[in-house]
Symmetry: C3
Subunit: 669 residues, 3 copies
């Protein structure tokens, strides 16, 4: 490893013009790849370019292998160089722990393999943190790059001992699935959640031994499939912000390219919900072409970069860090993913980002006080639903006619609702069921949507009852509540949910592919399941001959709508979303009134994200459809100012004209 | 495990109205799922409902884990409750052994893993059988649920020792493939067949230590692929009836949904052939929706339930047991497969079954004396053909243009003949080559069909010669006889089969997909193989230029038709079956005359099953085509009475009018 | 094993008519399968038939298991019989070593598993070679059947020890990727290449202990994917000729059936390039139907056999040996692949081969002096490109829209250029980059094409510079040079290649599927990558707005054309090859002038191979298109004589009329 004469170099150029622009609240930046082989000049260049393009934050992998020169010796000079350049150009640094391992991958390992390795990691943290805590540019420690194993508990002695200790501490739950003998055991899944929390907490504690004043951060990836491994509320105890990696080519495989902006919005909502009162970040956002790495290769267009930045900001992200600014030079990912081209010239993607940054800079007072508005609509998922789905469908090779029961059906159902609401201009939360505040005494005007959450654990039954009892509206779709947390089928044995829902399922009928059910005079497309309800207190909403396909149940001060068909996936798959949209707009009238304005009709492919700012609002509107749209808004009294438009937006109080791929940012006051 | 106060409960309600209906001969019923957690009232309800819906038999998994409360203690009360309820409502019980195992699955394990486990199984049988043999409702012991491993010999010490002992006992066969050095060894396959037989026999012997008077039964599943693991004739020594599991979603993957009734008929024939003089059952028949379990999810319609019941009965089944009556409550399959809905209300499927039962009840005298007629047409398969196919094509990922050489090609060829004959109203046997009676002195009027049975073992060569010599007609199709039992290619080295067939193959030409050959003036679709015959005594039937594609050979009192192309698969794949049908009707004139009546022409998608009863016949006719059919019958003097029709059947002596999905049952006298 | 009374048998028939025809230069023959079980008469028959069909060479697997009768005893009689018959009928024998192994497959093992096995192999060679070296028919020893493991280093102690020894001997390379820390290690790949060479060399040395006068040969298979395992130049030290196996059903999976003749031509060129000054052979050529073995089953037509033979001869092959003459009798491949039918009657394929042989026999003086002309166009591939591709894309399941980045993209790109040139009647070399002669002082009129060779090792940079400096033309296409040999991305860090190319990439943009770029007024289809060039000395050839898509750079006496898009795959996939063809014909004017004649325009599906013979030329022209072609030739002064035509060829000085599937051989003088 080459020692860079970095300190001296900086001394020499220290007098240079310092054109740092500081954002008080919104951070946009990029990963700087630091590798032995780079010269101080190169490193300096990248920080200068960050600055010149308005960026104010970066992230660096603190790779142990690039620092530790022998058993006892450390040479931090390469990274010193980067931190000094960051300071010089006013760039805050997210420093990601990256301890060495004999089987390390480009993404880093996820758990230690032995006590020895744990000791080695502690030693690495000691050296690393002691050294870098003195650098003013240091902003945050990132505990690990992308925790999450795809659901697999590591098979080694260390993990086994941890499991045994964990298992010994588990108390027998009070709820025992009505004395039915438990045949399936999710201990591995539960352990993995806690093991993840334990390791992150341990890393945070090690850091705090040496440095107590920094932000502590971690970024989750492939959220739609890895989500069942995380206990975000528990992480809030040691994190100061929560983040996500959002590379469509790696992480958005459930969606097609025209849905990536929506998927990113959903990703933001999931992270935001997990973060609670902490700020959230998009810690990695695909910045360039993935040539040989990644799964579904593509290069974001400038328009997509614009869309993604505004989507993140419009979802309330405190900051966005692209992956990456300069490309890796060697190994997997070499020459890929970057915002800069190979000559360090800004790509059209970086220019697009700069335009967004400039807009924000020009309206600092607005963006510094933005706040994601509290939505009255909450789409909730349960980890147990993902576990159950994977348990019974693992390895199934059925075709797409069975999409709803294949792994992914649970989260695709939830995001299909999210998408449909977004296309009405309606913001909804998207979070894990335990992240929701079940302790309020009044839920009037609020709505919870459980879309195909096939397992509803018993600990949430009282929550749901309390919610409806106290004025909440509950929309239950798909096979939600088919199982409890032990895969006890709740339809047969009966639970308090039956009372809440106003009935029980009588049958589930599989019809591969898609078909219509008649709601009023409208054929509503649904997917895979036709389920019949045996209603008690509920009143039929949709009937088919003698069978009841949906009911409404008044319960306490609230009500439940129960439609046990895959309506959201049916809408999504058929690209005929209007029937479900109309259904929802009718059912959500009370909630919709809480929004100052939404679209008057469903707009295929258009999403709107709206933030509160002072007395007004900032709206981000993106059109992913192939047609220009003339969107009418519901009645309101704000006057629009277009803050940003990458084409020829026409915006009036009542109308937004938006071209395909266009992003518009509007300030309403 | 909860103790149910079952005995007392029954005492209290013992005076209740007892509306048991008894069938002397035909049994229709369903699996009752018994699980800890159920109340006596629930259990009672299911047996009452069986009875109310005319059912007279059930099956119960006797799960050791639900009975054994400690190392030495057993609590049978949950199951006592079920047996008492069965008695009360006149329901006979098939009790399935279900010993515990540390790695048990929902389907149960297939072989013991150790001597210790064998001892444990014996102990379980001792306790179980001693206890339940006194219950009057007990009708049969089912030795195991669905033996069959998909062809895999278990990899453990116990199996290895068994293999070694087996191997030591094998005698060197007299036939040694003409001194060619054997390169492929099917010992594992042969051992698996015998190992299966050994274990089932062992289980039967253990049972008989405690209970000698019961029926002994076992049910095979996924018959079209597992069939090469079974030696049914050997099982007749310890069984009193043979059964099959027929869940299209798990087991009929070779077929599409409109073929399920035909596939069930073929399944029945295979089991019937295996059973010999023993009665046969459909021990498991899909009764409801498979939601998250199984492969190709679907829910049978009421019409399908009707079709399947009548198909089974029309094939001569003694009984049919649906899987299942009440759904499992927990774990895989929870809330699925059932005839009852979640409120214990009969589904339309159960109502359909009840209609069938009522028809049978109303015509007991007819159905009690039905007998599957002896067909003069015998489609035979060889285990060795399946072994060879799997040996050389395992893991092949070629597309559907190569269907005939991919695993499954052998059995699909045999069933395609079965289907084609069924669609002419012609009944044929379908059995393993050694199940056929080769010891008769006269085969005049009989026909054996070997459809793409690529391996014909040497031990059957004399059989085939004897059959033809003595008046039989042999139809040889596809690559039948390409190999002997050691994968010696018989075309090159020559065997007595060449003399029998009247020639030898000269070449096999692969033409991926389908093409036509010209038979008379008709283009006959065939699949994949164009083979040329070098004929000696045979006379060309189909020629193409200088090449001979089919021959007829007079041999002794009989004859052989040899068409070494995949004509049955060609017909099936092209949906142009008339040419092959016409060919067969011409060739099978002698056989066809033995049927009192068949269709005058091929009827796509219609199958007819006919039973003898007294002086007359009972015919089941099912139309799976999308069009109504007006079917003309060949000349006969019987007068029809429609016993059952689920639509508006019109039946005259000469004609049957049948709508799509309709099932008609006709009594001819 | 049966002893054949072979010697005596030959004595008895020794006086028979000996109609041997001898070719001085061109060998055509077939594999004779020798198996215990065969009679001397059978064996004699096959050799007689070889002779009667004009064949003069055969190949035999010398299977140890068929010779070694006990620990110490050998019985060679079966094979003696074959060698005597070969002598009698004037057939030269290629004898393939086939030592035994406990886990041997039909293709033989590729490496010894232990020292013990190595000793056993040496012992086998000792016995085998000592015995057979005295047989006059023996022509060549084939060291092994088809070395090549699909890139997998065997996992056993023996290989591990060899690896460790190899590793210890590796010197640290001078070039270290500019001090970047190497993250990916291709040691396994490099070792495998050397391990292969070591083992083959060892085998040759063992043979030479007993027999020094014979030809030493080896045949490589599945060349397009296995190619990165071979170091052909190193093999020239112990081989006297190099060969290849070319079974489309096993080996040409990158191509469709209409491309097989072209793929065979490419295969010939690769082997020819590897052979250097040694002769090359097609040691195995699919001769018949693959029924149950192989991947994509098919049976060559007589026309294909004709095409393949002439393609091989027209590529300069010294000999062609079909697989096989008589079929194997037992095990995998039994009854398959043969030129003879099951009655030992020549198939139409063998008759086709005989016609070719007769043509050659009738024009011995011409064919004996043919020489593959030295082409001025050299398509080169690098092993490192295949390694890198596999490293990063292993297991990718992306669809065909990503074909260019999936494993195979590298070689498909090279062969697409080869195909396009062939369809212009232009012959090109196709070889590994180190097989090219980089040591000349003048390359005027020569062209090297690097098509999507993603890794260009540093050791070749000077070569390329020297080549262009001294008058060569370099065409660089696709992502050629994206990496160095350590997967250092060369665009970012800069190398001497930038100077040579006249610029550097600025960006690579992935566009899944295919799209057009505008070259002059022509839309040129390209696949997957749109890359932008930051040019320095190079001059833009293709621009798109502000971006440069291709450049031309004058460098020394030569020039470089750089088109970093997948133009060859784009042409191939879109079946719109004219734009790229026109581009090439313009750029290759200087090279084209070196050919006496080529097609005046691109001819889809037609390939021409031309050999020099004396003052004239022999051209093989094959039309694989579905349309007849009237092909105009560029100006020349030779007069044509049609030596061979399997249809109604019309050939004049200026025009060739050729029907679909036709092969024409023309002598121009």
């Amino acid at each position: 490893m080459k020692k860079v004469g970095c300190f001296l170099f900086f001394l020499l150029i220290f007098g240079a013009k310092n054109n740092i622009s500081v954002h008080a609240e919104t951070y946009i930046g990029a990963q700087i790849i630091i590798e032995p082989g780079q010269s101080p000049e190169q490193i300096e260049t990248w920080f200068r370019l960050l600055n010149e393009n308005g960026m104010n934050v970066c992230r660096i992998q603190m790779i142990e292998n690039f620092m530790k020169t022998s058993e006892r010796e450390w040479d931090f000079s390469l990274f010193d160089c980067a931190f000094n350049a960051a300071e010089k150009y006013g760039i805050k640094v997210f420093a990601t722990l990256f301890p060495s391992s004999k089987n390390n991958s480009v993404g880093g390992f996820k758990f230690p393999e032995s006590e020895e390795q744990l000791t080695q990691i502690a030693d690495y943290i000691g050296h690393l943190v002691s050294h870098f805590k003195t650098f003013p540019a240091l902003y945050a420690w990132v505990l690990i790059n992308e925790p999450g194993t795809g659901g697999v508990v590591p098979q080694n002695e260390f993990a086994k001992k941890k499991f045994d200790a964990w298992k010994a501490k588990q108390e027998k739950p009070l709820y025992n699935s009505k004395d039915y003998t438990l045949l399936i055991n999710f201990d591995n899944k539960k352990f993995l959640v806690d093991y993840n929390t334990w390791y992150l907490d341990w890393l945070a504690r090690e850091i705090k031994k040496y440095d107590t004043g920094r932000e502590i951060h971690v970024n989750n990836h492939a959220i739609f499939s890895n989500i069942a491994e995380y206990d975000f509320p528990a992480w809030r105890n040691f994190l100061t912000s929560l983040g996500g990696s959002a590379h469509p080519s790696w992480h958005f495989g459930y969606f097609n390219r025209s849905q990536y902006a929506m998927a990113l919005a959903a990703n933001c909502e999931i992270i935001r919900s997990g973060a609670g009162n902490l700020p959230f970040w998009i810690t990695e956002l695909q910045g360039g072409n993935n040539t040989y790495s990644g799964v579904n290769a593509f290069c974001p267009t400038a328009e997509e970069i614009t869309q993604w930045l505004w989507t993140s900001i419009g979802s309330g992200a405190q900051g966005i860090i692209f992956w990456c600014f300069n490309p890796r030079s060697i190994g997997e990912e070499a020459g890929e993913w970057a915002l800069l081209d190979f000559q360090n010239i800004p790509s059209d993607r970086l220019l697009a980002a700069r335009n967004v940054i400039r807009t924000i800079d020009s309206h600092k007072q607005l963006f510094n006080q933005t706040k994601a508005p509290e939505s009255p609509i909450h789409i909730l998922y349960t980890r147990e639903s993902l576990w159950a789905e994977k348990q019974v469908q693992y390895g199934n090779t059925s075709d797409n006619n069975y999409e709803g029961r294949l792994p992914g059906g649970v989260m695709k159902s939830a995001t299909a609702f999210f998408e449909l609401l977004s296309e009405n201009g309606i913001i909804s939360d998207l979070g894990e069921i335990n992240e929701f505040d079940w302790n309020k005494s009044d839920y009037t005007g609020e709505c919870v949507i459980l879309s195909n959450q096939i397992s509803i654990p018993s600990r949430n039954w009282n929550n749901l009852e309390h919610f409806v009892q106290n004025g909440g509206k509950l929309i239950v779709e798909g096979l939600t509540g088919f199982y409890d947390e032990n895969m006890l089928n709740l339809n047969a044995v009966g639970t308090q949910l039956n009372k809440l829902f106003g009935g029980a399922l009588s049958e589930v009928i599989c019809i591969p592919g898609d078909f219509n059910i008649l709601y009023g005079n409208t054929q509503m497309p649904v997917h895979l399941w036709k389920s019949y309800i045996h209603y008690t207190t509920g009143k039929p909403l949709i009937r088919e001959g003698a069978n009841t396909l949906a009911i409404r149940n008044q319960y306490g001060k609230g009500s439940v709508i129960w439609l046990p068909a895959l309506a959201a996936l049916g809408a999504e798959r058929s690209k005929n979303k209007t029937p479900l949209s109309d259904f929802l707009r009718t059912e959500l009238q009370e909630q919709i009134q809480k929004f100052s304005f939404i679209f008057t009709t469903h707009q295929e492919g258009v999403i709107m994200r709206t933030l509160k700012t002072g007395d007004g609002y900032v709206s981000v509107v993106i059109n992913k459809d192939k047609k220009s749209k003339n969107i009418e808004l519901t009645g309101h009294s704000f006057r629009p100012t277009v803050l940003f438009s990458d084409l020829n937006a026409k915006v009036s109080r009542k109308n937004i004209n938006i071209a395909p791929e266009e992003t518009i940012v509007i300030y309403w006051k």
